[in-house]
């Protein structure tokens, strides 16, 4: 599957396209295969996202997991500061990233 990501223009936060809106959580991302360019163009011109781009992902326990490690680090936060990630209390999250 292809999922669409970018950064929030004002805050810089990593966001993911949910079909209606942008979410901080990659597990809310939806498959955009075939419409990625159109959505990216529309959302960027409306300034709801900054520099959007589509990446490969696969389903992992029913939720999208980016195919490349860089996008997984991006989705979670710095692996060396688990306290600053989106899942500070999940002790197994490192396995999801690496």
């Amino acid at each position: 599957m292809r999922i669409l990501t970018g950064n929030d223009l004002k805050t810089g936060a990593v966001t993911w396209w949910t079909g209606q809106d942008w979410s901080l959580h990659v597990e809310n991302a939806v498959d955009v295969t075939g419409s990625e360019d159109e959505i990216a163009r529309r959302e960027e011109s409306a300034r709801r996202v900054n520099v959007p781009y589509a990446i490969d992902a696969e389903l992992h326990e029913g939720k999208p997991r980016p195919a490349h490690i860089k996008d997984r680090v991006r989705a979670l936060g710095p692996t060396v500061r688990p306290d600053l990630t989106l899942k500070p209390a999940d002790p197994d999250i490192g396995n999801w990233v690496i």
Binding site: T11, I69, P78
Partner: protein
């Protein structure tokens, strides 16, 4: 240290308002991201892996306690309570909001700081010797020349859209503590027949094509320093390659033209410029110099250090450096606790370092390119009190220039360019050597880790270097040996096939063991490597 006058302050204030206007236009959609990007970069604002990142300039690495306090306040107000000191003697914040960036810059301007030209294809923050003004081996304090060049290079109308970024370092000692010859321009202040002048080394750099800068001029009179720099920059701006981003640095131009032809082009440009009124009057250099006069060192300060506490004695031996004034040392605050993140400091640690600088170091701090902090002028009599305070705050690691004092770029944990993580490798290596007890025996061993070929972690210049690469989506680490950023500058060579994360930690220990086995009296790791060559290391690693 240098203090702004009304002119400097007006410039910085104007820049804040310019950026505020640019950010507003971006947020309102009047600037596209393509148009805004070079503008934000020239104010140090990147879009990184997780958020906007802001790089704040610390000119030639010098700051006072008020400025360090302001950096701590910014970490709390605009970021997440910490900052990262970098190999360019700057500080980076990782979680900045575009809508707050102008306010942050305004707060910086209140303490005579800024983020001007900390990124972009322009002349970057000028680096220098972190022991400037304190070192026992320097000819003069190099910082007045760095400050003169800082002002010249700020908002330069001709050189703000160069082919690529441009880094300048200024030193004034035969001991190179600033990786001078790995800069686009490295300047060494030298003396000839009793006159001071500047030796120009041009075309060094790391990145994907590391090169050591050749000396193109061994003596430029000080009253022609700015003009000569301008001539170098004009030749580069006109002829540096713009067709390929990876061949756009001045090192490629110098290499392709050849040193002699390049030097001739600079000399011709220089000759034309001499009557253009480019050089500030010598009185301006004299004015700047007055800001760098010695503080009032106590005459007859005691040379005695009570070494009764072995932990303290070890820290003194490892982390203090000879000073030009009797009874004083420069003390290095390690930002490399075992298992920690190299170069990171919390806002609380920044405040403590600021307060200790006020109490014990004439209000001055320095950022080292090795991502540590220096208190440049500390009385030996104050060392125990200083160490006690540092140790209580996790800042007392006794590991300067040891294998635990690792340079590491932010790597894939933070950086959108990275291919592999650097920080976890540094953490595991420091933990390994703290546990196996070999650190002391290994002595000086400079280990430098980059998470991609851009080499922010200076891996080419490590006695041991590590380069993280992406191998089919999996992190992989190449090992390099034999580099040095110092006066014995050399570029490290790759040992062979790369390793996974656990494998690279083992490989570093294997290489260290080869050294321990092969070394002769007084040899550092680097010396042994240079004597015996790569083969014994390869055999141990891959044999």
């Amino acid at each position: 240290m240098y203090l702004y006058d009304q002119y400097d302050q007006r410039q910085v204030d104007a820049r804040v308002e310019e950026f505020r206007d640019q950010a507003r236009r971006r947020l309102e959609g009047k600037l596209t991201e393509d148009q805004f990007k070079p503008l934000r970069l020239m104010n140090g604002l990147y879009l990184q892996l997780h958020a906007y990142m802001l790089r704040v300039a610390i000119p030639y690495g010098t700051l006072n306690s008020r400025q360090m306090h302001a950096l701590a306040d910014i970490a709390d107000r605009y970021d997440r309570g910490y900052g990262h000191f970098t190999t360019r003697q700057n500080i980076q914040y990782n979680w900045i909001k575009l809508e707050e960036a102008a306010d942050l810059l305004a707060d910086l301007a209140k303490v005579e700081m800024h983020a001007i030209q900390t990124s972009g294809n322009c002349i970057r923050n000028i680096s220098s010797d972190h022991f400037a003004g304190a070192a026992s081996d320097e000819l003069v304090d190099p910082r007045p020349y760095a400050e003169l060049l800082r002002q010249w290079s700020s908002f330069h109308p001709e050189f703000s859209y160069l082919p690529r970024k441009f880094k300048i370092a200024v030193i004034a000692s035969d001991t190179d503590r600033a990786a001078m010859r790995l800069h686009d321009i490295g300047i060494q202040i030298v003396q000839q027949d009793g006159e001071l002048g500047a030796a120009f080394y041009v075309g060094g750099g790391m990145g994907r094509t590391p090169m050591i800068a050749p000396c193109i001029k061994d003596f430029v009179p000080l009253d022609r320093l700015v003009t000569y720099a301008e001539a170098v920059l004009r030749v580069y701006n006109r002829y540096g390659r713009r067709d390929n981003k990876y061949k756009a640095r001045i090192k490629i131009l110098v290499h392709e033209m050849g040193k002699d032809e390049f030097t001739q082009a600079v000399d011709e440009e220089f000759a034309r410029m001499l009557d253009e009124g480019i050089e500030p009057p010598f009185a301006e250099l004299e004015r700047i110099r007055t800001f760098f006069e010695d503080p009032l060192f106590e005459a007859g300060a005691s040379e005695e250090i009570d070494r009764g506490d072995p932990d303290f004695a070890l820290w003194v031996d490892r982390n203090t450096v000879a000073h030009k004034a009797p009874g004083y040392v420069s003390a290095v605050i390690s930002l490399k606790p075992v298992g920690g993140i190299p170069g990171d400091a919390t806002s609380e640690q920044m405040r403590l370092m600021a307060d200790l600088a006020k109490d014990y170091s004439f209000d001055e701090l320095r950022v080292m390119h090795t991502q540590n902090i220096v208190l440049p002028h500390v009385r030996k009599a104050d060392l125990h009190a200083l160490w006690t305070a540092l140790d209580g705050a996790g800042l007392g690691a006794p590991n300067l220039d040891t294998i635990e004092d690792i340079i590491a770029c932010p790597g894939l944990d933070y950086c959108s360019l990275a291919n592999a993580r650097s920080i976890p490798v540094a953490q595991k290596i420091s933990e390994r050597f703290a546990a196996n007890g070999k650190t002391e025996a290994l002595g000086q061993l400079k280990l430098k880790i980059s998470g991609c070929i851009n080499a922010c972690g200076h891996h080419h210049a490590g006695h041991i270097g590590i380069l993280g690469v992406d191998r089919k989506g999996v992190e992989n680490y190449q090992l390099l040996l034999g580099g040095s950023e110092a006066e014995d500058v050399s570029l490290a060579k790759i040992t062979g096939p790369g390793f996974d994360e656990a494998g690279i930690v083992d490989a570093v220990e294997t290489a260290a063991d080869v050294y321990l086995r092969e070394r002769e009296d007084g040899e550092r790791f680097l010396d042994t490597y240079r004597r015996i060559g790569m083969t014994p290391f390869k055999e141990a690693l891959y044999g």
